[in-house]
Symmetry: C2
């Protein structure tokens, strides 16, 4: 793969649903009573969002969105990062934009002045630290190919796509467009599968995108088994290695496995007392991609991923409260 | 003091600035660079609020407002609580209302549909755990006597007033009106002085309100010395005891002193590793007033105050993430 420019301005540009998280801690009973599927992400309409919000306890609000969390993490490491996503011109949209820019992320997209408000994700954290997400997409629902900033993508080493957005036809079209722009400029495309339900809803189209456009694939074990409809971790890893340049499969507390060509590295999870799993996968991708764009080995990239994930597992919320750059510098990164 | 009704519906109704907090952790350098006065609350206009927000790092948003924190704390103990304050009909106003109601607080006031947006408090937490607050009042700026819900006040054992609101003439008038309504119904009036600058700006009017209307006075040591323009804790306590039925002076990690008639109790601070002092005074008042409305002794009220304060000192933000009722039940309350 060759580079159109020797020195792209950005290490990584991310594309995803621009959301503000609303987090509360609830009992197991809350999950049952409201018919939620623990650990998953469910799209909800306005009515259901209002019903769930009314039932939830007092919360905290934090900027979220899977790819936005990843991009914010890369900037927190000191990486040069940009984000593409759609907020509305409202208070939560302003919070979302502020928090990305405050971390050093280039977020240029003008907020929408028509249509629904900025999207939000109602996150219920149970005593087992698992998070269950109910996403009201709001302005993100209307993301399409016209929002793909081709100049930005051509000027980034890696374009990172979150699986959650790959749902409506216009959003799928946007991902194909972004991938083609990236490859025409000699860049790489990274993708995270995000959620087993996302994979199940669009398995055929995912397989096609992964095979034809994805260079770096992130999946957790369940998502990888579902994508390839296989029964074992080994089969899933082998299938992913056939499709992509770099395959990364995460296994929660059991760590992760990274494969690039003949190089396979197994990485331990970074030790932490888990309070809330929200954002752990997003931050793993942040650490990995930061390492990758710095030219690190696969094992080092995986370790940076584990460290970044641990920085959000120990507290409530999907973004680290500390500078990841300052965190890893004493560890020799 | 006699009661107009034997069983008022509410234990406590609070009145204050309805604000959403925006919290970030920043270095000491940030305080100097932006000319902030550490530990204090400063009112800021739109321009200054935007300038500070742009300079602040990524934050978390949580419902705040001093009296609202206290009232939310009382409800969290299991007390019957109501709140009077002014939000706008916007996203942050909806968050503020949701979080109060989710804790069980009766918040009836209709949001404003004209004028400025819901107010917010930009809170900078430094590594010494001290919080520095910059308040953009927004819709709270136009709080006046017409917003005092006389029925609600007459139907609560205690009306709790925060000092921060006592600034504009209309708000002062509202406090006098609320106090008179409470006393005519045979209820008590509690007041917290909130901030040394608040005391200095309006010392004469504070002294008059305290002497004529306040039954229960909360102040920290600095505020009490400033109110009475004395040099020692003992003089301040003596002056407060002359003015009010119950005087409570808090001393941070040195605990608090509570005086009622001849009864004086010194209470230790509840041990906790302090992360962020935001809301500690508000929650002390919550514990105290919950105990008071349950008929507890002065020492027990002070202990409940210390425990409630410790529940927010150990984390970022002004409201506890746990049920205060569940927290104190094993302690025999």
């Amino acid at each position: 793969m060759t580079s159109a420019w020797d020195h792209p301005t950005y290490d990584v540009v991310g594309i995803g649903n621009a959301l503000v998280d609303v987090l509360t801690h609830e009992s197991e009973d809350f999950i049952d009573r409201h018919g939620l599927v623990k650990g998953s992400m469910t799209l909800v309409d306005t009515e259901r969002a209002e019903e769930l919000y009314a039932a939830m306890g007092a919360g905290i609000e934090m900027s979220g969105g899977s790819a936005a969390n990843t991009i914010s993490g890369i900037a927190s490491f000191g990486g040069r990062a940009a984000y593409i996503g759609r907020v509305h011109d409202d208070q939560l949209g302003a919070v979302f934009a502020h928090d990305l820019r405050a971390t050093g992320v280039d977020f240029r997209a003008k907020p929408a002045t028509e249509g629904p408000p900025t999207g939000r994700c109602l996150i219920v954290v149970t005593p087992d630290a698992q998070r269950t997400m109910n996403t009201y997409l709001g302005s993100s629902e209307y993301f399409g190919p016209e929002h793909v900033d081709a100049d930005l993508i051509a000027d980034a080493q890696v374009t990172f796509l979150e699986g959650y957005l790959f749902d409506r036809p216009e959003a799928k079209e946007a991902y194909w467009k972004a991938s083609r722009v990236a490859h025409e400029a000699g860049r790489r495309v990274a993708l995270t599968l995000s959620d087993t339900f996302c994979v199940e809803r669009h398995r055929g189209e995912w397989r096609e995108l992964v095979r034809e456009q994805v260079d770096i694939l992130f999946a957790n074990e369940h998502e990888a088994l579902s994508l390839y409809e296989v029964d074992t971790f080994e089969e899933a890893l082998a299938a992913a290695r056939d499709d992509v340049e770099i395959a990364i499969i995460t296994r929660g507390p059991a760590g992760s496995v990274v494969a690039r060509g003949d190089e396979v590295a197994a990485i331990d999870a970074h030790p932490v007392e888990v309070v809330d799993t929200t954002g752990a996968g997003d931050l793993y991708a942040a650490g990995f991609l930061y390492g990758f764009t710095q030219g690190r080995s696969m094992a080092e990239c995986g370790q940076l991923g584990s460290i970044a994930a641990s920085a959000v597992l120990g507290h409530t919320g999907a973004r680290p409260g500390v500078s990841l750059g300052q965190l890893v510098r004493p560890m020799g990164y």
